[in-house]
Symmetry: C2
Subunit: 228 residues, 2 copies
């Protein structure tokens, strides 16, 4: 089983390589927006193919490993890896969306509003990196601690949305730009959401307990989760 263990380690490594591409895409999309750098935005869009390719390859690798997994805990690890992979692919998609809107915005004068969008990006990326660290270290406690961060990003997104909606009413010529900014803010909120999903998968992996829907009613066959 040494060989199998090595393959599992390789699966994790591939996932981390994918994660670093997805994180880089988000960072660069934000840079493209802040620096009004059209070329960088274009590069982010074209490099999304790399993250897409990782998804296909990790999935195929995972299915091959499932066929030889000796333990239930291996099955859990592999299916969790597949889910993390799917979340990372979506993070890449959101980075592309941000980059596209950055390109649209670079064509027009910047809005003079102090929006907490850079804070949202910082929080979302921290949560994403944190969740992946927890996956590597099988650190369930830290993963649990990350989950509430998602709510902070949600609150910031609502704040951005409200500020922009108010500003649009006062200055209708800013509507198009305001809508682009709302999309960027929403994408960051989604990235934080994917980071939270990853953190929840780590908790499930470590504790074999599903915390994704604390309010979900269970049927009698299922044990009640202590969190619900």
């Amino acid at each position: 089983m040494v060989h199998f263990e090595q393959e599992l380690a390789e699966l994790k490594n591939e996932l981390l390589r994918m994660a670093s591409h997805a994180e880089k895409a988000v960072t660069q999309a934000m840079e493209a927006w802040i620096r009004r750098d059209d070329e960088l935005a274009l590069r982010v869009c074209s490099e999304d193919k790399v993250v897409d390719r990782f998804e296909i390859e990790i999935d195929e690798f995972a299915i091959r490993l499932l066929a030889k997994a000796p333990l239930a805990s291996d099955l859990r690890l592999i299916t969790v890896a597949m889910k993390i992979c799917q979340n990372l692919e979506r993070v890449g998609d959101e980075a592309t969306k941000i980059a596209k809107r950055a390109r649209d915005l670079s064509q027009e004068p910047p809005l003079k509003l102090a929006l907490p969008i850079p804070d949202m990006a910082a929080l979302a990326l921290q949560t994403l990196k944190g969740a992946l660290d927890c996956f590597v270290n099988k650190d369930s406690a830290s993963a649990r601690a990350l989950i509430p961060r998602d709510k902070q990003v949600d609150a910031l997104n609502k704040d951005v949305h409200k500020q922009l909606a108010t500003h649009m009413v006062q200055a209708p010529e800013t509507i198009a730009r305001g809508l682009h900014l709302m999309v960027i803010s929403k994408s960051l909120e989604r990235i934080a959401d994917h980071a939270k999903n990853i953190a929840e998968e780590v908790v499930y992996l470590c504790e074999a307990e599903d915390i994704r829907h604390p309010g979900a009613v269970r049927t009698q066959q299922q044990p009640q989760s202590p969190l619900s």
Copy 2:
């Protein structure tokens, strides 16, 4: 292996039960919006728990089955079921978003714009039902035929977005309502996207070929997909 086959059939059945809940949620959310029915909208939101519960239970069931799957094709079926399940859970989330915006909109006078939002809902739901039928019948050809429908819904969403943005500029007092309608339209676009994902999973299941990212560059270890 008769027992295992029965369990696989049960897994599929559970998935179809989940799908019918998710479809009902979308239909009712649209009804709540069109009929300005606040109570129905509230019910859609509270019943999302049912779809969430299905996700947890189907996932657990799938992992138990993975442990005893004798064939590679079974592994594929089970992992595809897990992915379909995740897509359905997100369809449920989108239905809830539509219902929430329907509630907000029912507080204000309706906008006098003929937007193709009901057509989008009809197309999205048809695609979703179609994709699930393809899953049941292992009908790869029909699943492939469904995939382009997603682009139609995308185009309608862009049209709605453009009409609303123009209207907002002309009538800034409609901005808040316009934004709610944009969210509903975007949610329908996402539902069509999930339906397309399901159709792609069916193709993969039948043809053991990944068509999710036709443009993705493959490394040398991976065979070139005929579609890429």
